[in-house]
């Protein structure tokens, strides 16, 4: 199969996936696109939005479309790490002997929905760290590999702050995207009512299996990236750090910590997937601009002044996108 066909196949499958999701999820196109992008890139996603706007439904529908094992973990304050990873249980063999046997937790799935992740204690939250980064789980000194593909789709409620434990920076950094799920529009509300209150039951079909997903991911990773684009991404990520010379006044004033190198990886991988979805096989500045906010917003830790003034990370990121020059210096002035 030629490259052009591969790209068309990629586009076809992604469009089919989006179409199937769209049967259940009304609107939320950017959210769906970001979720699909994160899955194709092999990253995890943090969905933030008010209750009842379809976060969990989105993840469930996605799992159905991909035909992979889906697990849901409802995070509560009394949730223990073993409840996620699994634990060693004493079992009796047919011969009457007793021995420890590892009972896999819900983490052993392909798509994990960590619902209301910020309600669990940091200890429990951190039980996901190894799984998300190393794709393995260690219990009682024994490591267990997780099955590929493996995605964690966490949700959190931005308004209920009592009894919640904000995710630590280290864990936030492990999420590929942080996607903001907005309240549906009037038309979308009407459509939701139409679909959910009638007698017709909507079902989705599987469009991609796990193996195909890995192949699509491989194709996406081979998209070439020009050196000046890499330079731009490096500049952009460095500019989120207030102590660097690339940082602008807004970053210096409102940001405490900037994005890590994982931010550059997220920008490039997400950009590549977007490029293929657009029918191109090269990364462009436009791709980077489109994915910059979901890829970087959770990696910018605002300082007290930023929090007090209600500055959004997206505003800082958009400001950086406007100020950092895209072209090499030798031709930059010729464009302005």
């Amino acid at each position: 199969m030629g490259l052009e066909q591969e790209i068309q196949n990629f586009q076809g499958k992604i469009n089919a996936l989006k179409s199937e999701i769209g049967k259940i999820i009304v609107g939320h196109h950017p959210v769906v696109e970001q979720v699909v992008t994160a899955i194709l890139a092999g990253g995890h996603i943090l969905l933030e939005g008010f209750p009842g706007i379809g976060k969990t439904m989105l993840v469930r529908t996605l799992a159905q479309c991909l035909n992979v094992k889906f697990s849901r973990i409802q995070f509560t304050p009394d949730l223990m790490p073993a409840d996620i990873t699994g634990t060693n249980l004493v079992v009796e063999t047919p011969a009457g002997e007793k021995k420890f046997q590892f009972q896999k937790g819900p983490i052993f799935g392909n798509i994990i929905l960590a619902d209301e992740i910020n309600r669990a204690t940091p200890k429990t939250q951190s039980a996901l760290l190894e799984a998300m980064q190393e794709l393995s789980v260690t219990v009682a000194g024994t490591s267990y590999k997780l099955e590929q593909p493996f995605f964690v789709l966490a949700t959190q409620n931005p308004i209920e702050m009592e009894g919640t434990y904000p995710l630590p920076e280290a864990q936030l950094d492990r999420f590929f995207f942080k996607t903001l799920v907005e309240t549906p529009s009037v038309e979308e509300m009407e459509e939701i009512m139409e679909r959910t209150t009638g007698s017709q039951e909507i079902t989705v079909k599987q469009v991609i299996n796990g193996l195909e997903l890995l192949e699509l991911r491989k194709l996406a990773r081979e998209v070439p990236v020009a050196s000046h684009l890499k330079h731009y991404i490096a500049l952009l990520v460095r500019a989120t750090h207030p102590q660097t010379e690339e940082a602008d006044e807004m970053v210096k004033r409102y940001v405490r910590y900037g994005a890590s190198p994982r931010g550059t990886q997220a920008l490039i991988l997400a950009g590549k997937i977007r490029a293929i979805c657009q029918g191109r096989y090269n990364l462009s500045f436009e791709d980077i601009r489109k994915v910059a906010c979901p890829a970087l917003r959770h990696r910018l830790i605002l300082n007290f002044e930023g929090e007090a003034e209600g500055i959004k990370a997206d505003v800082i990121i958009r400001n950086l996108l406007e100020t950092i020059p895209e072209l090499p210096r030798e031709v930059e002035k010729l464009v302005k």
Binding site: G2, L3, E4, E222, V223, P224, V225, A226, S227, H228, L229, R280, Y281, N282, L283, S284, F285, E286, E326, L327, P328, E330, V331, K333, L334, V335, K336
Partner: protein, 541 residues
Amino acid sequence: MKTIEKHLKKLSFLLRLARGINTAGIGLAAGFLAGALSLAINKFTDLPNIGLIIILEFIIAVTIGFAIGFFRRISFLAAAAYLDKMAGAKELISTAYEYGLKDPTDVATNWNLQRAEATLRSLNLSSLVSYRIPYRKWYHPMLLLIFIIFYFIPPVSSSGRKNKPAKILPHQLSQLANMAHQIKTLSDSKKPNPIQTLPRDIQLLTEAIKQGALEKKDALVATNKLAEKTDSLKKELQTKQQTLETLKKSNLTKDLAESLSQNDLKSMEKEIKELQDKLLKNKFDQRELETLEKRLQELSEQLSEQSDLKETMKNLSDALAGKNFKELPEKLQKLLDELGELSDWSAEELAQMEKSLEELLEELEEIDAELAEIDPNGQESCPTCGKKLAVKGKGKGKGNQCGTCQDKKFGLVKGKGGPLAGGGTTNEGPEKGPKAHQGRSHDEGGTNTKPLTDWEKIYAPVKLETERTTDILSKRKITGQGQVLTTRFKGVPDKKNEALMPIREALPVYKEAAEKAMNESAIPLEYKETVRQYFESLDKK
């Protein structure tokens, strides 16, 4: 890949051209600033050909600006990135070019290359390059405004008047009238060239000294007079040369200078009269008047310039004072050589000196007649009563007055009494002090009858000749060094203000004062170099 490289090469050239135009715009701005600066400087100094300088500044600034922009390399990758941006190719061309350089056979790269080439074929590269100067709109108009403001600011004249309307002073008009009169006199004159007679006189004097035909004192007196008049001659010639240079500086007097250099006296006369007429009829605009005023001021100051030949003459006198007669012919020969240099000057300029040289000859004859009455032992005799006079005295006195017959016309010089003046009854000069012994007392009954030393015999005629009654050193003590120097450079030259003391004593004092004045900018900028050269020439001698 070749197609892409070909297009990128063309685009790179166009981008360099655009950048050259861009930076030439910066050069243009720099040219405005440099021009404004030159105009500002011209308000305080006399830059020649300011217009040409400003034009050259513009050309150089724009050329350098263009060269900086054009000759700096633009990489193909940068050109490809520019092309992506301007053509909206979404980084296809730059990515394809960069990966094509690495491995053009790669499937993905090859696919991108084909698409990039197809995109390039549909593009008109020239339309993608902007040749405008991407600077703020107010940038150049503001600099142009600065330039215009400096252009119309009235100049500050060399006389130090700031931002006041220039005017032609009456004495400057009379200067022009005098110049016209002198030139007319010269043009009408049919007399032989006096410079030819002066070397001949010196030659004759030299031979006479060699042959011993002249007394030592006679030779001394004649040589000193000759030297002084020669000095005067050279001064006047130098002044004329400077006048020529000064006149050439201004467009107003350029024609006059041309006439002067071509020895066309009739034309000169006509030019000066036209100049006068224009001034009287107010035909000049403000700037022309200011320029002319400056030139006339310079002419006025040049009249006070001194000649270097004077030092040679002084050395000659010193040699005579030290009885070193062996050096005399050599020094005279040097004098002749210097005069020979003068003979290279134009016939008209030399003719202008005729009057001075005639005076010289007349004075020489007078001196000869007076010297005939001087006693060989160095004592003078009163022409009326015939009594011999004391050559030194301690008393105060005018020194040129016979104590017996009160003949005030007697004597070559007018002496000043002092501690060594011998207490003559008629010595009533105003000066006292050690230097007063340079004077002579005509005192019949003076108590000091000490015979003259050779040093005094040599210096006596020079010192007594002047009628100046103020000693430079004593004046300096009262008024300070700066005051003396200011008088010298700004005032009307006083010939009798010279040679009251040996130059070896005066030179360090004046040099120090001049350097101090130059450092404190008491001397106008345009004259500093002249003053420095003057003292350097004295040092050499």
